[in-house]
């Protein structure tokens, strides 16, 4: 149980709300100083994610061999999945290999970050706070815009993104602002919001069933207390459903970033 969940269960504050996402400092003396919110479960999960990824891939590749060892095979097939089925499929052989490291890093970082949502003891994904998805969204935005501007030049890139090929001239005054808004301004927002809202909703659903179970247990009636079993069972079922969402959202974020890069790299029509 997360510490916020403990507080909520103790207070009997059942319908979980936005305040369920506020995590207290680990060291209460830091609250109110410049270091407030630096040592919380959220930041701990982020640093742990980074540590896990770096250590795993360094460990797996420490002595690379031509016939892969088991750990090397795991790391290679994980990386190869993103490289072949996302990057090369979307971007072609040359550009695909070039962007595979970025897309693979993005995928594994988001995957492990999301995974904290169902790890007992933490049970909150850092991605349930908008700050982390929006940072990744902005990085992806910088990457695909930089790639496009570098390839077509600034004016040429605007032309590629804002004018869909084959559109008649009379509709262009309507189409150009819309395409600009959608392709240049809103893409990082939707990218980040999709990941954030999925993790936010997932955490909220788990809280509803698990705290609902405690709420039923706290009631005086023995029959109502018995019903809490179903609530906890649904909490477990929803954790398994979360697992699907976790993998899917990491994949979708990577896939869409790849598609935006593909759109930037596409030739003039």
């Amino acid at each position: 149980m997360t510490d916020s969940a403990k507080v909520l269960a103790a207070d009997g504050h059942f319908p979980p709300g936005i305040d369920s996402f506020d995590f207290r400092d680990w060291f209460s003396g830091l609250s109110g100083t410049a270091l407030a919110n630096v040592f919380t479960t959220i930041t701990f999960a982020v640093w742990l994610t980074v540590a896990i990824l770096i250590i795993f891939f360094l460990w797996a590749y420490r002595k690379p061999q031509i016939v892969p060892t088991k750990r090397q095979w795991i790391a290679e097939s994980a990386y190869g999945f993103i490289r072949n089925s996302v990057s090369i499929d979307l971007l072609g052989k040359q550009a695909g290999v070039r962007f595979a490291p970025y897309l693979a890093t993005l995928f594994f970082f988001i995957l492990v970050m999301n995974f904290w949502a169902i790890v007992p003891g933490i049970q909150i994904s850092p991605n349930a706070h908008i700050a982390f998805p929006i940072t990744m969204g902005i990085i992806s935005w910088l990457v695909y815009n930089y790639v496009g501007v570098k390839k077509h030049g600034f004016i040429g890139y605007l032309k590629v993104t804002c004018i869909p090929p084959g559109s008649p001239a009379f509709i262009l005054p309507l189409l150009i602002p819309l395409e600009f808004l959608q392709n240049v301004l809103l893409r990082p927002v939707t990218l980040a919001l999709r990941l954030f809202a999925n993790m936010f909703a997932g955490h909220l659903i788990l809280l509803v069933f698990i705290l609902g179970g405690f709420e039923l247990l706290n009631s005086g009636n023995i029959f109502i207390q018995g019903m809490s079993v179903f609530s906890f069972a649904l909490g477990i079922a929803m954790s398994l459903f979360e697992l699907i969402v976790i993998v899917l959202q990491a994949y979708v974020f990577t896939l869409l970033t790849g598609m935006y890069i593909q759109g930037s790299l596409a030739g003039e029509h």
Binding site: G17, I18, V86, D89, L90, T190, L193, R194, F196, A197, N198, F200, A201, L248, Y251, V252, L255, L256, M259
Partner: protein, 68 residues
């Protein structure tokens, strides 16, 4: 009765994306049943279409909290 109308609003807002996601998966299943070997080619499109429609429902969820 107590509560907020935002929940009702979110329920209505989820109708459209729900139908949209259903149509996307139905189309994919039909396509795969007719042409099983095309599953690999259309799967990225399936997930992209799914993600683009699903985000509309999630906008509704975020707005239900943001506007309270």
């Amino acid at each position: 009765m107590e509560g907020t109308l935002n929940v009702v609003g979110y329920g209505i807002a989820a109708l459209g994306p729900g139908l949209g996601v259903a149509l996307i998966f139905a189309a994919w299943i039909t396509a795969t049943a007719r042409q099983p070997e095309s599953a690999g080619i259309t799967r990225p499109m399936l997930f992209m279409g799914f993600a683009l429609v699903e985000v509309l429902a999630l906008f509704g969820l975020v707005l239900a909290f943001a506007l309270s």
